[in-house]
């Protein structure tokens, strides 16, 4: 507030200057012989109009424009202070609208807009294999090391092309076995990302060869486990029971792959190059991701064209593994945003609607206020204020309102962002780093400004149109009010319509989510607890690992009240294996074999999970490595892939082997019911199961059914430690938790949209109430006369209620039509509920009409209690 101070001093000096001028003139005249009174009068006359002289002089200072603005702002502020109730409701309404928009935008900013935290992130691309077979459900698939090595040698579009496989290791830290998230990477992953280690060096190309056991660790691990030791480089640490030399420490905050939990250690592909039949030579082993950095000036389309050519060449060169395989180049950010784009945009539209409703409410409030200030405006116009000046003044007033509302809204947003982080589903990039940063602030300022103008313009125009002559009539309030009445009704109808749309959307999502979370998963999740423990391959070759599992299960199944088995992947656990197989009948070439999801399970798995058998038997301990190869399939698998007739006894040949040279035929010994495998809303999906002693291709979960999960986990921990104290257990979750996590995104979206719809409903109710109440206030005299003439109060009540309901009905009709179109956008989020679900639509209509009735009832009651004498005297 420096300007006004300076300005006031200038003002005082001008006063002094004028005064000294007059004194000098008077003194001159007195000297010439005039009486002091004559002199004073003459000097004043000669000087002219002091006020005007000062005014024109002041204009020379160049303050006028700023001053008028300050004056308007001050005036607006004072006007609001004089009507605290109005100001409170208006600011609260606007703050809600701005608050939810800011919070929602901060989510969109963090997930979709904020660039990846690497130099030139726009040049980072994901390079994924594509399954081109027409029946493939998942188009984008993982890659294999041999394919990656070929691409790296051939592709010219990339400055760097690197591969990674997020995984976890068991490290010995301070004598404890610790499960540590990390990644197996190609040597130039850090160059691809454009980040070099803060200490030491990155990997060299020759360290991709088997036997180079080197590691780069994260800043976090360096600080927490190595005491931030300066001499860390060159020391060794135990990873999966082998000594690794630490060659570098990444800078703080570095995180890739961008997944939760953050990786703490990176080792090279040398890890996958070990053994007789290493992953680095298996072209069919698709499990890695490829990340490229485009050369400067190479567009994604050019890289795509080059990779298309390479894919076509590979299809010919390696028809066994690469037939019907393409390659897709996607900007890395786009890949990370993935499926979250649609739900987020829907939510953004929803908060936009909330803001629209808030603006309609504010416009209404201002109109009502404008009507009650008709006299004031008439006076200003009569005194010569230009219409422009009055509009500007009214607009400034709404700008003050919107500024205050925006400020409060920001506080609301900052608070709700903290809440959002709590309920956000796991695994969405950026959601754990929600914040109100510069771009969010800019967005909020812009939205605040635009909506301030939006809700202020209409009432300002209407207010300035007051007719000065009629403004002073005794009836001024009623006259100007009736003119704006239609405008106010239209606004109330519009916000009702928008509210209906939001409510229908939220209602459908709620019904969908209810349906989803009450879907029978096909197994009984209650009292099931699962955990994992890392078994280092170096000390547990295939048969030893099976022996370890057998011993563990024997130990745990001896505990009373405990059922234990092994399995992977877990249903709804988020991961899956898909392996191709030769169906019963004639031999099929690799490229034409169907594939299906596979489960590796222990004996008694189906019994423990309460998955019913349709035919045949469960796996038993006798189905071991020495026994004939067996397989259990689910109903969908039997229907889709097995020959007609009895499924038991048919043979399939999954493309996997363990101890045999070639993949063996496996005999179907049982058929089980389908379970929900990937999502609760999926239809039956073919799956087949192999007992772990006959095909262990992954780390298994220990699955226990128990009435006392905590005790069971402790028993498992002890049983494992007894066998091998170097094995770390991790990922302890109950089956109910796993299922809840699988519906996390749906819950997030449903919760938020419901919240927004509730907000919209409240705002709509306030809006309807405002319009009806104002109508009653304006018709006070009319109601007074009616009642005085003996009208039945219930008739007056009906009259007012009818006015509110009429608006609500029109709004609801318009809203229903709009909703019928808009709900199509929700599509997949509805989980089988139709976008025109009649129950939801009916519920929304009833809810809104009830709310409208309540909103009108309060002013209607007031109308019946109008005291005729007071009503007439008030005028």
């Amino acid at each position: 507030m420096k300007l006004p101070v300076l300005r006031r001093r200038q003002d005082r000096e001008l006063d002094d200057e004028v005064r000294s001028h007059l004194r000098l003139a008077i003194a001159d005249r007195v000297e010439r012989g005039e009486t002091p009174e004559q002199a004073a009068r003459a000097a004043r006359r000669e000087f002219g109009n002091v006020t005007v002289v000062k005014e024109v002089t002041r204009e020379m200072w160049g303050w006028t424009a700023i001053e008028q603005l300050l004056q308007d702002v001050q005036y607006g502020w004072r006007a609001l202070r004089k009507a605290p109730g109005f100001a409170l409701v208006a600011i609260a309404t606007f703050a809600l609208g701005i608050g939810v928009n800011t919070a929602m935008f901060s989510v969109i900013n963090a997930v979709m807009l904020r660039p990846l935290p690497f130099p030139r992130p726009e040049r980072l691309v994901d390079v994924s294999g594509v399954d081109k077979r027409p029946e493939a459900r998942i188009r984008s698939v993982s890659d294999s090391w041999p394919d990656f090595f070929d691409w790296r040698a051939r592709a010219r579009s990339f400055q760097h092309l690197s591969a990674y496989n997020p995984t976890a290791f068991t490290m010995m830290l301070d004598g404890r076995a610790v499960h540590v998230p990390g990644a197996v990477v190609s040597s130039d992953i850090f160059s691809t990302l454009g980040v070099q280690p803060a200490i030491g060096r990155a990997f060299r190309l020759d360290e991709e060869r088997a036997g180079s056991d080197v590691a780069v660790i994260s800043d976090t691990l360096w600080r927490s486990e190595f005491g931030a030791a300066a001499g860390i480089v060159g020391t060794t640490t135990s990873v999966n029971s082998r000594p690794f030399t630490i060659v570098g420490v990444m800078p703080p905050g570095f995180r890739y792959p961008i997944s939760s939990p953050a990786p703490l250690i990176w080792i090279t592909v040398a890890e996958h190059a070990r053994g007789d039949d290493p992953m680095t030579t298996q072209r069919g082993a698709h499990f890695i991701k490829v990340l490229g950095r485009l050369r400067a000036g190479v567009p994604v389309a050019a890289a795509q064209a080059e990779m298309d050519a390479i894919a076509a060449a590979q299809e010919k060169e390696f028809p066994e593994d690469n037939a019907m395989r393409g390659i897709k180049v996607t900007p890395e950010l786009e890949r990370l945003v993935g499926d979250t784009r649609q739900p987020l945009l829907i939510l953004l539209v929803a908060v936009g609607c909330v803001l629209l409703i808030a603006c309609a409410n504010l416009a209404n409030l201002l109109l009502v206020r404008g009507a009650s200030r008709g006299q004031e405006m008439a006076l200003r116009l009569a005194l010569g204020a230009s219409r422009r000046r009055v509009i500007r003044q009214l607009l400034t007033e709404s700008a003050v309102l919107s500024a205050a509302g925006t400020a409060v809204g920001l506080i609301l947003a900052a608070w709700s962002v903290r809440l959002l982080v709590q309920i956000a589903p796991a695994g969405v990039r950026g959601l754990d780093e929600l914040s109100i940063d510069g771009s969010v602030l800019a967005f909020t300022a812009l939205v605040g400004l635009i909506s301030g103008l939006a809700f202020g313009t209409l009432p300002a125009m209407a207010g300035s149109r007051t007719d000065p002559r009629r403004g002073f009539d005794a009836d001024a309030r009623a006259t100007s009010g009736r003119g704006h009445g239609r405008l106010r009704s239209i606004l109330a109808i519009a916000e009702t319509a928008i509210g209906v749309m939001l409510l229908v959307g939220a209602g459908l999502l709620l019904r969908g989510f209810y349906r989803l979370s009450h879907t029978d998963p096909g197994f009984d999740p209650s009292r099931i607890v699962t955990l994992k423990f890392n078994v280092p391959e170096s000390r547990y070759p295939y048969l030893k690992q099976i022996a370890l599992y057998d011993q563990m299960l024997a130990d745990l199944n001896g505990v009373p009240g405990l059922e234990a088995t092994m399995a992977a992947p877990l249903p709804l656990g988020g991961s899956r294996f898909t392996i191709s197989f030769e169906p019963p009948g004639a031999p099929t070439p690799q490229s034409r074999r169907p594939s299906s999801e596979l489960g590796i399970v222990g004996p008694g798995y189906f019994r423990e999970m309460h998955i019913p058998f349709i035919a045949g038997r469960d796996f038993m301990a006798a189905d071991n490595d020495a026994a004939p190869r067996v397989v259990i399939v689910n109903q969908s698998f039997a229907r889709q892939f097995l020959a007609a007739g009895d499924p038991i006894g048919q043979r399939i040949r999954p493309s996997m082997s363990t101890t045999e040279k070639d993949a063996p035929l496996r005999e179907v010994v049982g058929v089980v019911a389908d379970v929900k495998q990937r999502t609760l809303d999926e239809a039956g999906r073919p799956q087949y199961f192999i007992p772990y002693p006959q095909g262990l291709v992954t780390t298994l979960f220990l699955v226990m059914r128990t009435a006392t999960p905590a005790a069971a986990v402790e028993q498992a921990r002890q049983a494992i430690a007894r066998r091998d104290p170097e094995l770390a257990i991790y990922d302890v979750r109950t089956m109910d938790e796993i299922i809840a996590q699988s519906t996390g995104s749906a819950r997030f979206q449903t919760l938020l949209l419901t919240l927004f719809a509730a907000l919209a409903l409240v705002l709509t109710a306030v809006g309807l109430y405002g319009v009806v109440a104002c109508g009653v206030a304006q018709r006070t005299r009319e109601f007074g006369i009616r009642l005085a003439l003996g009208a039945d109060p219930s008739r007056v009540l009906q009259l007012v209620l009818a006015q509110g309901l009429r608006m609500a009905l029109i709004g609801v009709s318009v809203g229903l039509v709009a909703a019928a179109f808009a709900t199509r956008l929700l599509g997949a989020a509805l989980y089988g509920v139709g976008p025109l679900d009649p129950a939801t639509f009916a519920a929304v209509v009833v809810t809104l009409l009830l709310v409208a009735l309540m909103a009108s009832f309060v002013p209607a009651r007031r109308a019946t209690r109008v005291d005729p004498i007071r009503a007439l005297r008030a005028e």
Partner: protein, 119 residues
């Protein structure tokens, strides 16, 4: 309304009034009243400057840094605001004077040959 009447007058006199103020201040610092009195005396009562033109002109010239103002105590022991030419003001005065001389010479030569304009 009143303000705009004065404003028109300023615009008419602008330039000329500025020149006269700068010229008057050439002989030393003066306050507003002194400037108006000096102009009146020197022009033998022909030029009477409106305060409504004078003060805006003074404040404008001050903002343009051609003159600067200072509060002093006058010979009659009164606090007055006194204006004084700056270096820039002196240069401006020279410039405006030569422009005025050119203009009046041009006008003078037109007025000296009334016949030519009639042909």
């Amino acid at each position: 309304m009143a303000a705009s009447r004065y404003r028109n007058r300023i615009e008419l006199l602008q330039g000329t009034l500025d020149l006269l103020i700068l010229q008057t201040l050439q002989w030393g610092p003066r306050h507003g009243y002194g400037i108006s009195q000096a102009m009146r005396t020197v022009s033998s009562d022909v030029l009477q400057v409106d305060t409504g033109s004078l003060y805006p002109a003074l404040h404008r010239l001050e903002r343009q840094k051609y003159i600067r103002a200072e509060w002093t105590v006058s010979d009659r022991n009164q606090r007055t605001r006194v204006y004084e030419l700056t270096a820039a003001g002196r240069r401006q005065l020279l410039e405006e004077r030569s422009r005025w001389e050119q203009l009046s010479a041009a006008i003078g030569s037109i007025l000296a040959h009334p016949a030519e304009s009639a042909e």
